[in-house]
Each structure stands twice: as structure tokens, then as C-alpha cells.
Amino acid sequence: MTHAISIDDLSYRAGRHFAIRDLRMRVPNGSVYGFLGPNGSGKTTTLRLLLGMLPPGDGTITVLGHDVPRGAHHALARIGYVPERLHLYPMLTVAETMRHHASFYPTWSATEAERLRRTFDLRDEQRVGRLSKGEAGKLMMLLALAVRPELLVLDEPTDGLDPVVRRDVLAALLDYVSAYGATVLVSSHLVHEQERICDWIGVMDGGRLVAEMPMHAFRSGIKRLRIAGAPPQATPAPFGILARRAGPGREEEWVVRDWRDDMMSWFASGDASLREVVDLDLEESFVETLRAARDAGGRAA
């Protein structure tokens, strides 16, 4: 097995207006996979589908070698999950919640849990329903990590948290990953945060996965080119053209992916001339990828 998560031809419909269609996704073992997408793109739904919380309409899902949803309970025993909103019982205290959670996981580490509790500065007698957003986020991360999972599924784990808490949570996560080599699937719309911790990226939009590639390829492979004398129809190029826009004068602006420096020579063989190559940061790359996907979807419609 080379992938912690494999999804093929997944379809799911919720109501009349939202659907996940023909989703194909691979999360390699040991990777930190960033699941990017705007709000409402289907990230949380996809996570719930692969955890067996929702029934898929069609397709196959394999998590840690188990078919989901049939074998979901086997997979869940090896997964640490942090949802986007507090999902714990509000009337229990921190200590009671930890005891309750521990009883379901044979791999629970009491020492690790206690260490994290002290690190996160959570008090035993605090009621879960009275925790602040930051404390709740820390508690959920504590529960997910103390289980010593092989796979961490994190849905917007730092959303709404202040920078100090966010730093503590991410530090604990990275410590765990580096110590145990676990696979992490983290969903977020915070692009800069993903850029720091992820080595794979998947971009979701409108229920479809529009891009999936290693982070370095995403970061370095998407460029903005300033072209002069570009032909109306570009001949097949060694790079992917995400967008073409009119620039000043007779110039055009191309957004391309899978760019390498040696591809400059392609312009030498044609009428177009390359004036400038501009690096894009992750956020700009993400926006251009989405824009291109939507434009392609619009043209197809």
C-alpha cells in the first residue's frame, strides 16, 4: 500500500444544488496533504465521506487499507480526527472527556495526553461547554494526537484561533508527524498556512478536485508569463496554459503550470517572444488554478 487514502470515482449528492462528482484523490503514505478550496467547495463533505460519516452515492474509498464505509470502524481506530467545530460533549470536563475518549482507543497514550494537556494549559476540571474557541481547538487536537494515529484528518484545525494558539497547535502537530511519520490530511482555506506545512496539495472547487500535485510543483511550477506577438491559437506547448489575458499594447499575459526554465527555448522556435517570467506565491497560484478550472467548466457547459 502506497497511499493512506485512495478515492476513485466518488459521487455524492446533498440537496439539489451541491454534488461531488467523479472525485479521484490519492493521499500518499507519510505525506502532509493540504486540501485547499474555497468555502462550500466540498472539502468537509469529502472528509466526512472518507471517515464513513456519510454514505457515498457511488465510487470507492479506501482508508488505511479498509473499505469505507463498510470497514470504517476499523479505519477510525487508527485515525485522529479534528472537525471544524467542537464536537465533544459539553457537559463533560476536560478530564472526563479524555477518559471517555481513551476508553475507545487501545493505542491511547496517557503520558502523551497528559503532556499535551500541560503544554496546552488545559485544566482537568474545565467544562467542555465553557471552553474558549482556542481551548476547544487545543483539546480536540490533544484527543487526536494522544490516540497515536497513523492518519490525522484535520478539518480547518486552526480556523478562528489566535496566532499564539495556532502556533501551539501546529507545533504539536509537526512534532507528532516528525516523531511518528504519520500521514496528515489537513483541510483549510488558509493558503499560507498550508504552504508552510504541506508537501502535497489538492485543490477542490465546486465538488471536483481540480488540481492534485506535490507542493513544490504547485509552488514553483505556476508562473505568469509576459508574451509579445502570441498567436491566437497556441501550438501544443510543453507546459499547461491555465489562462491567457490581454496585456498592454500587443502583449499577452499567460498563466501556466508545470513550468520549467528550459521551456524558454519553446518561444525561440515560434513567433511569440517571452518578455518576462513572474513567480507566483501559493495564494496567487491557488486563485489562478481556481479561475482556470471555473473558466474551463463554464466553456464545457
Binding site: P83, R85, H87, Y89, L92, E96, H100, S103, F104, Y105
Partner: protein, 218 residues
């Protein structure tokens, strides 16, 4: 796992359990305390009648306790969108089985209240030799009735979820409409009467609710 499930259910339901246990304990005492000054010097039939009043009160309390624990127990997960329960490494059967077993264990608390209250209440009265108190039987029947009431609402909540209230309402309309059905469909009446007789008598599904509920009897 089960211990922790029981603990969570207890913590969520403890206010209601305390209420029902208190009511179940005090009902026999209060009913007899109110009735005793009005009893005659020789009151076997009145005692049997008062015992019946206690029995009916206990029946109502037990059914309400069972239904409340089932409705509220579902609510602890409903409040957090069921996410936590779904994220645990359990099959649906294991999860629901533990919840049901926990609730059944908790419902023994009001039943204990029935037993203790009934024993104390019957102890206040000088029963004639031909009459006996049935505190144990009353508590046992109360427990069985609470379990069955719990099972009905539990199944409704966990299979119908948010639509439970709609299902209950539709059931009420359906039962109420049976009277019209008996007139409209020839031969329906005797079938409905026979079905109803089976439902409410032992060993039918609701036999435990009907029949004799009394603290004092021959």
C-alpha cells in the same frame, strides 16, 4: 467503553433521573398520606382502591421516565451534530447497543425509588390479613414498562432522527383514524379489535403497560 458510555448517559440524564426517582419514591407516600385520614376503621376495599391509584401513578411515571431518557439520550449527540459519536471506532450496532444498555441500567434507579417508596408507604398502613403489599412486583413492572417505553422512543429517534416528531404525529393521526376505518371497510372492525386485544395483552408488545398496577391487593 460501556462504562464510559454509561457515565456520559448518566451525566446527561441525571437531572431527569433524579426528578423521576424523587417522584416515584414520593408518589406512594403522598397518595397514602393523603388517603389515610379518610380511611374507615375497616377498609379493605378502600385500601385496594388506593393501592390501584398508586399503581396507576407509578405506571405513568415509569413510562414517562423511559420516554424521557430515550429522547434526552439522543439529544446529547444531536446537540453536537452526532460528529463525535460518528468519529469513534464503533459500528452502528455497537454504539446503539451500548447506549441502549446504559439507558436500561439507568432506568433501574427510578425503579428502586418505586420499590423503596412503596415499601415505606405500605408500612404506614395496617393491612388486613387478606391483603398484601406488592412493592417488589410494582417496582418490577415499573422497570419493565420503563424499558419498553424507552425502546419505543429510542428506536424512533435513532431510525427517524429529525423526523421523529413527524412520525409520532402521523402515528397519532393513524390510530385516531382507525375508528373511521372500521366503519368504512367491512369486516375491519373485528380484525382491528382482535389486533388491539393482542397488542395490549400478555404476551403482546404492550402487555406490560396494561393489566393490574397496584401496590395493595389480595
Amino acid at each position: 467503553m460501556f462504562g464510559q458510555t454509561l457515565y456520559v448517559q448518566w451525566k446527561w440524564n441525571r437531572d431527569f433521573l433524579a426528578f423521576y426517582t424523587f417522584v416515584a419514591f414520593t408518589a406512594p407516600l403522598i397518595i397514602l398520606w393523603v388517603a389515610l385520614p379518610h380511611l374507615g376503621l375497616s377498609s379493605a376495599r378502600e385500601l385496594v382502591r388506593i393501592g390501584g391509584v398508586v399503581g396507576i401513578a407509578i405506571a405513568v411515571i415509569s413510562v414517562c421516565a423511559g420516554m424521557t431518557v430515550a429522547w434526552q439520550g439522543y439529544g446529547v449527540d444531536e446537540r453536537v451534530g452526532h460528529m463525535y459519536a460518528l468519529s469513534l471506532p464503533l459500528t452502528r450496532t455497537q454504539a446503539l447497543g451500548m447506549r441502549a444498555a446504559a439507558a436500561l441500567a439507568l432506568l433501574s434507579v427510578p425503579a428502586m425509588g418505586v420499590w423503596v417508596g412503596s415499601v415505606l408507604a405500605a408500612g404506614q398502613v395496617a393491612l388486613p390479613a387478606s391483603l398484601h403489599s406488592y412493592a417488589g412486583s410494582l417496582a418490577g413492572r415499573a422497570l419493565l414498562a420503563a424499558w419498553l417505553a424507552h425502546a419505543c422512543i429510542f428506536a424512533l429517534r435513532y431510525s427517524a432522527g429529525r423526523r421523529a416528531k413527524v412520525v409520532l404525529f402521523a402515528l397519532a393521526i393513524g390510530v385516531g383514524s382507525l375508528g373511521f376505518a372500521t366503519e368504512a371497510v367491512p369486516g375491519a372492525r373485528s380484525t382491528i379489535v382482535r389486533a388491539a386485544e393482542f397488542l395490549i395483552s400478555n404476551p403482546g408488545p404492550f402487555g406490560v403497560f396494561f393489566g393490574r398496577w397496584t401496590l395493595i391487593d389480595v
